[in-house]
Symmetry: C2
Subunit: 255 residues, 2 copies
């Protein structure tokens, strides 16, 4: 190995069992929509540290468990067996991010359709949720500096999040905004059949900005992602809109 490599690193490479290791965890930003606003599932902490604050659901990664599997396990535990989009966000590894011990956490973003989100809240009585208040900034560039987000309780007060979880939520919003227009994530927040207006509402909720209707329709239809079903919504007091289905184009496994 390289002579420029430090002695400690050299030894650690071959027998790191002798060295203290950070714990490895996953934390999930479980996002959905609640009353047309971006929302996320939170657990209220009842003990030290950060007792009383809200935290993202998470768990330690088992020694024989892949990162994705750990994230999927936490997702199952909190949201049931619902199919959902799950994507790795970023890994947070500041030394003092948890005062109890050194924990490196891999943050994941999970997206739940509106119905699944509401159902998860009902099933698990300890889950609460917060809506994300958006700085009105138009179509955000994912490369911009992290804009701080404010998480509001259902009654409208600002929630203080535990640990570095506010930073994780801000990154999740930023990633979601960045991918919204060119990826399929927008459809993950909708039921199987939806109208173009519903799709536009989702985009506007995530971006925090109104969008031009004809341009939005053209863009979405030109993407080739939308399959018209010939069926129409019912129960409206006005002209009913056609229902569409999401049809993935390429086999694309995404990020």
């Amino acid at each position: 190995m390289s002579p420029s490599e430090s002695e400690a690193a050299f030894l650690a490479r071959y027998d790191p069992a002798d060295y203290a290791r950070p714990a490895v965890a996953v934390d999930l930003v479980l996002m959905g929509l609640s009353a047309g606003r971006p929302a996320l599932l939170l657990l209220r902490r009842d003990r030290h540290p950060h007792a009383g604050r809200h935290a993202l659901p998470g768990g330690f990664v088992g020694i024989d468990e892949a990162l994705e599997d750990a994230a999927a396990r936490v997702l199952r535990e909190k949201a049931g067996g619902v199919p959902a989009h799950l994507e790795q966000l970023y890994t947070f590894g500041a030394v003092e991010r948890d005062p109890r011990m050194r924990i490196v956490t891999v943050a994941y973003l999970a997206l739940l359709a509106e119905a699944a989100f509401a159902e998860a809240l009902e099933r698990a009585p300890t889950l609460s949720f917060g809506t994300v208040a958006l700085p009105r900034r138009g179509v955000a560039d994912e490369a911009e500096a992290a804009a701080p987000v404010t998480v509001l309780s259902p009654t409208g007060e600002a929630l203080r999040l535990a640990f570095d979880h506010a930073e994780i939520v801000a990154l999740a919003m930023r990633r979601l905004r960045g991918k919204l227009d060119y990826s399929e994530v927008g459809f993950r927040l909708l039921p199987e059949l939806f109208t173009l207006r519903q799709l536009q509402d989702v985009h506007e909720a995530i971006l925090g900005t109104p969008l031009n209707k004809p341009a939005f329709r053209r863009r979405m239809l030109d993407r080739g992602w939308l399959e018209p079903t010939g069926r129409f919504e019912t129960g409206t007091s006005y002209r009913p809109a056609e229902l569409y289905r999401f049809r993935p184009t390429s086999p694309s496994q995404g990020d």
Copy 2:
């Protein structure tokens, strides 16, 4: 805590020291340009596993060391004290990715200017390098499925990379391509003063596709990133081009 949380996870949350932990490492894709092609620094492994294959430089994360600090340490060890762009890529945590033991590795992308890249190769005799052969695909979309990349030795043979490092390199190329047009990474591969043609050469090398000259110039100048110096290149047998300097616009800390 939630009753839906498994007993094991509950216990692990409070005393994970009793459980076996994965080791946490960082691996670096140290990219630069060599003769106008994207290139990366590699170490040839001389022992099991994957002896004879090439691997990314890396190291274990100390118990009191932030992830970024570990990445910066490995960067220093391999490339000296050169200032460079350093950005987290993704975290790889498949159970069997290293046959010796469970290692979760946080991959980082580091960019070195062409001179610093060459200097690093000279300083460390055990370092070798490979150039990345690009599938000609035009401006890549970072959300696309990972396109496999081929890493070639200086003599042109395809190198087999150890572990999942080929996947990491593919992701690095994809990320670099995705950010190239709207971020400042392109300038990190250039010396302090450079001509517009050099900048375009860098973009073309990364994207693997020729670009339109007037459009490229307009775009770059309109970004407000380029500061003309009034100085010109020397030693050409044709009209010398003006030298520009990169001027960051916002304080932007980026990703």
